[in-house]
Symmetry: C2
Subunit: 332 residues, 2 copies
Amino acid sequence: MKKFINKVDNILTESLSGFASAHRDLVTFQLDPNYLTRAQKAQNKVAIISGGGSGHEPLHAGYIGYGMLDAACPGQVFTSPTPDQMLAAAESVHADKGVLFIVKNYAGDVMNFEMASEMLPFEHATVLTSDDCAVVNSTYTTGRRGVAGTVIVEKCVGSLAETGADLASCKALGNKVNLRTSSIGVALTSCTVPAAGRATFDIAETELEMGVGIHGEPGRKREQMREADAIVNDCVQAIVTDFKAKNLATNQEALLLVNGFGATPLMELYLIYHSAAKLLAAQGICITRSLVGNYTTALDMAGASITVCLLDDEIKQHWDSPVHTPALRWGR
Amino acid sequence: MKKFINKVDNILTESLSGFASAHRDLVTFQLDPNYLTRAQKAQNKVAIISGGGSGHEPLHAGYIGYGMLDAACPGQVFTSPTPDQMLAAAESVHADKGVLFIVKNYAGDVMNFEMASEMLPFEHATVLTSDDCAVVNSTYTTGRRGVAGTVIVEKCVGSLAETGADLASCKALGNKVNLRTSSIGVALTSCTVPAAGRATFDIAETELEMGVGIHGEPGRKREQMREADAIVNDCVQAIVTDFKAKNLATNQEALLLVNGFGATPLMELYLIYHSAAKLLAAQGICITRSLVGNYTTALDMAGASITVCLLDDEIKQHWDSPVHTPALRWGR
């Protein structure tokens, strides 16, 4: 394992300290329990809080700021944060309109956010994201996994919360975006968890893992490596099949997120985008919003995921609205 | 070689097509000769054009837009663009105040931009970037290499040009920023050029290349892998020594850019930032501006570079000013 680290035990604290220092105009980092909040507390809005295991940067702390999250709770690498982190974050950012947790559907995260919810002395709700259409039930989940589509949920819900909307409306929009969003990932290499010191899984130079999870957990199938268009086509078919299974019409506008897992160059991500947009158009899905880059990573895994969110006027409005965070910034 | 590609010969066209499609509100891609421009031509300003071999994305096309470049000319991977690309780009974006080429100091780029300059029928000038303090003269250069500091030059010159400043002023600011900027990179792995199909260089699991170039060309020394703080300390010392050799006072404010080469996770880049900011502070350099991420990459190389730009009021003003490009966006 070759990584830019000092002691394995200190990676998270050192990295988050660097993050908070580099973005001190936007975020503040609290230690013990660990959580990050906006540098300036927002008022008169539902507090939007997310969190989960680290190793998926910029998820979630990179999305703290105007128009998106109020706070994020980072666990250790690929490990759920604990309820005390969530409680401390909620108490810090709560602004009298309740707290909405946005939680990726992994057993540990779900359990810990539930425990925190039960202890919260004020109004609260949870949106569980489950956009990964690759598998139902997996290494760490009952039901589908929440992956890169979570970024779209956080963006839209964050935008709505900024308008002063109430908790129920924020939760409803989160659930709608999650329903209309489908993702699938492909790994070309494993990732290496620092505390383990070795690759999470073995994969041959001629193979890919179709439907991989963002912790390197198994997907649908170990397959032979092939041309990008063929790989992307399988991803697009999986997503379109998922929409159809949900009775969602696919002849509409959509947002296309091509997400790198950490070690895949932007040149390849844009090539995937090119291929996916063409294949989606052939299915009647017209891409009118785009995001390409490393937005939900899996440490140093080479690979990428494709996420499609079927747009409607409300989702478009909240996707396009101003956002000012370390990792997403536009419109102001 | 495992990459998301179809045919090696088509990578660049497919990737640039995806890029232009994903960012069609900002950029337009012209084929044969290949160049990219702003979607809406700017008027009454010096046209700022950059270019170079591909494989360093988002450099340079990712920096096209308000407050930065007017056009970019992408060569094949790690290969200079040709004079006809530069001429076509210049003719397309020229707006009666002349053209400024921003060129990283590599022999092929310098030669081709010079040839284009000689054929240009209007006022023009060139800023050569040479921020890499690792080595003087190297595989592809006479003199120092231009690396990630080029992003800072492009941002500041782009900002000044937007004010209607003349060609000489833009060139002078570019030269000043270049002089006050110093970078050094470290590779943990090689990159793989698609057309070659194999790693550019061999490096053991216990080694790093200190001072590596952004094409995988040799740096100062092959060294034993060690803790991040020790690696970063050597980088910071190299940069401070460079500033001193240039008679630049180091007890001042600076911008710190921690740049990933393509396969290094954000978690590690922020850890490097944390380490570098502390070590620079100990040298009297106070970091007041920051940029952390993949801004000048080397395909799929694992590694990172550290860039420090010594600020003054003029550079701060132009760094902070609004920018609206695919890869850098703030302030409007």
